[in-house]
Amino acid sequence: MSIIQTSTLKPPLILGRKTPTQVTSDVCTVPEKGPGRLWLPAFLLALSALLLGIVAVTYQIKVGIGTWGLNRTVGWAFDITNFVFWVGIGHAGTLISAVLLLLRQKWRTSINRSAEAMTIFAVMCAGVFPLIHMGRPWLCFWVFPYPNTRGSLWVNFRSPLLWDVFAIGTYFTISLVFWYLGMIPDVATLRDRAKGFRRKLYSLFSLGWNGSARTWSRYEVTCLLLAALATPLVVSVHSVVSSDFATAVVPGWHTTLFPPYFVVGAVFSGFAMVLTLMIIARKVMNFEDYITQRHISAMCKVVVFTGSVVGGAYATELFIAWYSGSPYEQFAFNNRISGPYAWAYAIMVGCNVVAPQLLWIRKVRETIALVFIISILVNVGMWFERFVIIVASLHRDFLPSSWTSYAPTLVEIATFVGSFGLFFTLFLLFCRFLPMISMNEVKTVLKPHEATESFGKDTLK
């Protein structure tokens, strides 16, 4: 039966000719025996950043958000930039776990677990900022439509800020459930290898998983259904976030392309963050056989594609601003390019549009140091994109007498550093205590040729 093609082009997904037994022992080593030497210093660093953030947040809640650099013209700046930045980071996780599952892209199996963890932690970091921005975070339950003694005065469902609550809430819940569901079989693996207290703990969380064929069958259906739900969800989340801006009449904010443009930008920044994390993690955790050059190349291609689309969106915005004939639109974009925040615009274009173009070249994709640098640049560039959109559009509004500028205070910077602390603390805890690579999925892609041939045998018999 020579008609079954065995592709000689594609290298194996997992290197080192691993057996399922080896996969189990490789992945379980860290949760069972502890991580390598680099883990503790990294964790302490992250924890100190988190502590700095906690101090800053406590201070600004006590004193009030007058501690920020906001003013009457620039009412949104650092906090909302960080909010959009973190939500965007999360999107790659869902894309890898849901969209690539639907597209049957098998290379996702060794990175989807950690990318999903990244999603959940990034959304947590994002949630912190609007919460503090409320000024009275202890009244945060007012965002929910509950019967109250004020009439009942319901929340305003026409407000994009309320859509955010529902979008982020749903996104967090579904991502968490999807992540946990994917982990159940692997937690069962840990359970069956553990003794004593740890065994009891893992038993509790593995929900009595026994790997029966009937359960696996339903499990796969559930994963596909959740993926089919998570895919439009991830698109909706950043569309809703973009509506925070696009439903306003502020020039530079109101443009119909914003929802899809934000979604692509989010995927772009998210994949850059996954690249950054994975390049570090494969070294530190010794997962070079699992997260291979092929994975890095695949993610580079996504980055260069989405980066180019983002560039196209910038160009469309500029062209239509001129084409619209609206003096306000034209001013807003002239001000972005040549106003006081021109340096931020230059960083944004340089990091998001120019730098990733290097990834068209195969040599660059295969030089991990360069990929790492580009991924960092994209992270920086995407942060500045949100900063440019928010601050550069607001600081010179319709009324020249109220034009002003904005600079972040130390409190705001400390809070931002703190959000990185929160993110890395959680991520490092995840790497330490949970199976960082989805064992049950990796085991299915160890021998692709064999699987292919057996399928052919079945159908051609």
């Binding site: 093609q5 597209l103 929802p259």
Partner: protein
């Protein structure tokens, strides 16, 4: 399960009678157009512009299909490649229609009227872009670029049958990537030129993407129609399998949802901010009698495909897929009519022979040239058939 005929040629001979009918309808369209120039010069151009854009969309969709399939390494689509390859053959015809369009600019576009521009500051500002010379040059450049890339894409797609030739693969990847970049620029500008500038004051950054989503949706519907047709009339049944149909159904479903997503983004954001220069676009379209068509547009392009194709089994059903594809083809024609009609017809849509015949004969010509091209290119070499079959089995999704 029937075995594929691995050694014989699998050929498609276009049915002579059908081809004759299509040719007659095509010629009829030309006659009606010429008659319309004399009898109803203001109405005929509406139908002409709709037909022109429809034909361009169908041809470009073939190229987009090939490029996306190559870039994403979608080996499952190899068995279908002949169809999008053939679809691109309608682009030279569309280019011809494009040349004809240059004679109708005055009837269609407000910005060509010098007296109007003289009294309008905004239009004066745009005249550096919106002028007859620029429009004509751009139109020629678009078609030159498209024909160049489509010919290359089709040639590579037909040559690189064996995936184990990395050289051929690389050439395909590079051409596809360059085509997509060129397409992003040229297609955006083309949609601004040909459709958005009908309402010269109105603008929307999502417009090009909206058109692109529509083109993708029409294209996949056309591919489905040909796939089902080939399955029913030829031994292509062995190459175009049930899992191909299912994949087409899944793509149709996602593109339909994507189309409505862009529709909603544009509509909601303009509705929400309620700025006069933007809402003008929806003023006519959301009021009676146009609003009936606006709703029908959503039903045909989104609601029907979404509800019908949601169960997986429906995607494997030839008849269901064919009907949904026809609904989408009709829906996309309606969508174009909704772009072109309101600014030129005003409050009441008029719909008669001058609007419908150009569209129908353009469709007839599309089917004519595509089937002719399929007839000449369809002889599939044996290893090609085997490969397509091998892939379609190995890549079939888990139940």
């Amino acid at each position: 399960m029937s075995h594929p005929n691995l050694h014989g040629k699998i050929e498609f001979t276009p049915p002579a009678r059908l081809m004759k009918i299509l040719a007659i309808v095509g010629i009829l369209g030309v006659l009606v157009f010429l008659g319309g120039l004399i009898l109803a010069p203001h109405r005929i151009w509406v139908g002409y512009l709709v037909a022109f854009n429809y034909l361009v969309g169908l041809g470009m969709a073939g190229g987009i299909f090939l490029a996306v399939a190559t870039l994403s390494g979608a080996t499952w689509a190899n068995g279908l490649r002949r169809i999008p390859e053939a679809m691109t053959s309608s682009i030279p015809l569309a280019a011809l229609l494009g040349l004809g369009l240059l004679f109708g600019l005055h009837a269609l576009y407000e910005w060509t009227h010098e007296s109007v521009v003289a009294g309008d500051k905004v239009l004066q500002g745009k005249s550096a872009y919106l002028n007859v010379l620029g429009f004509s040059i751009r139109l020629l450049v678009f078609f030159a670029i498209w024909i160049f890339f489509l010919r290359r894409l089709v040639r590579i797609s037909r040559q690189t049958r064996n995936e184990e030739e990395p050289g051929g693969m690389r050439k395909g990847l590079v051409t596809s990537a360059l085509f997509m970049i060129a397409l992003a620029i040229t297609f955006s500008l083309a949609s601004f030129d040909w459709l958005m500038s009908l309402e010269a004051h109105w603008f929307s950054t999502a417009f090009a993407l909206y058109r692109l989503a529509g083109v993708g949706l029409t294209g996949i519907a056309a591919v489905t129609i040909f796939a089902v047709g080939l399955r029913r009339t030829t031994s292509f049944r062995n190459i175009i399998t049930g899992s191909h149909l299912q994949d087409l159904g899944r793509i149709t479903l996602s593109l339909s949802v994507f189309w409505v997503y862009i529709w909603y983004c544009q509509h909601m954001l303009i509705w929400y901010t309620n700025m006069p220069e933007e809402t003008s676009y929806y003023l006519l379209r959301n009021e009676a009698p146009w609003n009936v068509l606006t709703k029908a547009n959503l039903v045909l392009n989104w609601l029907i495909p979404f509800l019908v194709l949601m169960p997986r089994a429906a995607c494997r059903n030839e008849t269901v897929m064919l009907r949904v594809a026809v609904a989408i083809m009709a829906g996309q024609a309606l969508d174009l009519f909704l772009q072109v009609g309101p600014p030129l017809m005003g409050e009441r849509p008029t719909f008669g022979i001058w609007e419908i015949i150009p569209l129908i004969s353009a469709l007839a010509l599309f089917f004519l040239v595509t089937m002719k091209s399929l007839g000449t290119s369809s002889s599939v070499r044996e290893e090609n058939a085997a490969r397509a079959r091998g892939w379609s089995t190995t890549e079939s999704p888990s139940p």
